[in-house]
């Protein structure tokens, strides 16, 4: 994205998403979701350029809007040859047991993961996920983490979950009031003075590091 403007929400932002996971963080109303909408070309910018691949898969805050079939099996039927392939695919993420479940009866966490899996099933060239950890239990959060990390395509997420962002992202943009106020690797951003101006609670690892009187170089 080059100098992209959209109404009063996004004000001249520049974002480059390479391979790996790019995260956009910021307070409510800072323009994160609008930026994702601009990336997926669901919104047209007033000014600036958005250069994206042809096929961008996406999963949004309400995962239930993605479902068009009654069961999980039927959702994936068009993307795979047979039931066995679908079982294997779901099995990779420990979700084989959901194959015959009604999509609209899935829990929020399960629905979110299935919605992300649908978004990647049509072989997109990039993936956009808005608030990937919303409504997820600890186990599901771990699952989404592994799922997103295993992607071979550029992944862009917007999230409030800073511990999650610190764990999975390769590059982070911090948005506030439509502007990008900081960017860099997750740790660089969380130690940036501009980030502390947002008065966000720091990720747990950073807090522990501070208590030990150390600046973390990596979370590994």
């Amino acid at each position: 994205m080059e100098d992209v403007w959209y109404k009063d929400i996004v004000k001249g932002i520049n974002i480059v998403c390479g391979k790996g996971i790019t995260a956009i963080i910021g307070p409510n109303g800072s323009g994160k979701t609008t930026t994702l909408r601009l990336i997926t070309k669901s919104l047209k910018p007033d000014r600036g350029k958005v250069l994206i691949p042809d096929k961008v898969g996406s999963s949004w805050q309400n995962p239930y809007y993605t479902f068009i079939k009654s069961t999980v099996y039927e959702e994936f039927k068009e993307f795979f040859k047979d039931r066995k392939e679908i079982e294997d695919f779901l099995g990779n993420y420990g979700l084989k047991h959901l194959i015959d479940k009604y999509t609209f009866k899935l829990s929020m966490g399960q629905a979110r993961i299935i919605s992300i899996l649908i978004a990647i099933s049509w072989s997109p060239n990039a993936l956009v996920v808005d608030e990937p950890t919303n409504g997820l239990g600890l186990k599901e959060k771990k699952m989404v983490e592994e799922l997103l990390k295993s992607m071979k395509i550029p992944v862009i997420i917007a999230s409030h979950d800073l511990d999650f962002v610190l764990k999975i992202s390769d590059y982070v943009y911090v948005m506030n009031d439509g502007h990008i106020i900081a960017e860099g690797s997750a740790l660089d951003v969380f130690y940036d003075d501009k980030f502390s101006l947002l008065e966000f609670p720091e990720p747990y690892a950073v807090i522990v590091g501070k208590r030990l009187g150390r600046r973390l170089r990596s979370i590994e």
Binding site: S58, N62, W122
Partner: protein
């Protein structure tokens, strides 16, 4: 940000709609247009600028394509008259219905003998139309995210929407139950007559008197 809190009495709203339809029926387009303009002015004073912009876009869609079509069929002058009628009806309906408080409309419709559920459902549908628009746009974005485009996208949109409506109704019922809907009624609010109502009613009466004198 909304600026003023203006509401009209549900009966005044219904009378205003009836008057506009009657005025158009007896070819008093100017009278109908003035009344719709009064209501629209009140609406503009009430709504946030973003909603006014959306309404303006809606009005443009309602007027310009039909005008082009009618101009081709009946000629440009005839088309103007037809479009003015259309604008008058659209503005009156949207303005009057937006200016009525849902709980007050529930009160009036329940007095007309409608069951409580229907009485509550009518204003809810009117007031939730904006939310429905939002749901549609969310669904379109989600459908694109799973690779659906064009005809396939249009064919599949109703599925998540219908489910969403059902789920939303369940959540709404849950919220009402939490508000002790069974013991303290949250559905009705007895309407009061205000200055806005007096203006609209006076205008209608004056016009009616003028019309009757003209006929005599």
């Amino acid at each position: 940000m909304s600026r003023l809190k203006i509401h009209i009495h549900p009966l005044v709203g219904i009378i205003a709609i009836a008057w506009v339809m009657f005025a158009l029926y007896v070819n008093h387009i100017v009278s109908a247009l003035i009344l719709s303009s009064i209501l629209f002015t009140y609406l503009i004073l009430t709504l946030p600028s973003e909603q006014i912009r959306r309404l303006a876009v809606l009005y443009l869609w309602i007027t310009i394509p039909p005008y082009v079509l009618l101009a081709i069929i009946y000629g440009p002058i005839e088309a103007v008259e037809l479009i003015l009628r259309l604008i008058s009806i659209t503005i009156t309906f949207t303005s009057a219905l937006q200016l009525i408080k849902p709980i007050e409309l529930s009160y009036v419709t329940s007095k007309l003998g409608l069951p409580q559920l229907t009485a509550l459902a009518i204003p809810m549908v009117i007031k939730l139309s904006d939310y429905m628009g939002y749901s549609i746009s969310e669904t379109v974005v989600a459908m694109r995210g799973r690779g659906l485009k064009g005809r396939k996208l249009l064919l599949n949109i109703p599925i998540p929407l219908v489910v969403h409506v059902i789920n939303s109704s369940a959540h709404f019922a849950e919220a009402l139950a939490q508000k002790r809907f069974d013991k303290v009624s949250t559905a009705y609010g007895k309407p009061k007559v205000g200055f806005t109502d007096v203006v609209v009613i006076c205008y209608i009466i004056l016009n009616a008197v003028f019309l009757v004198m003209k006929w005599i």
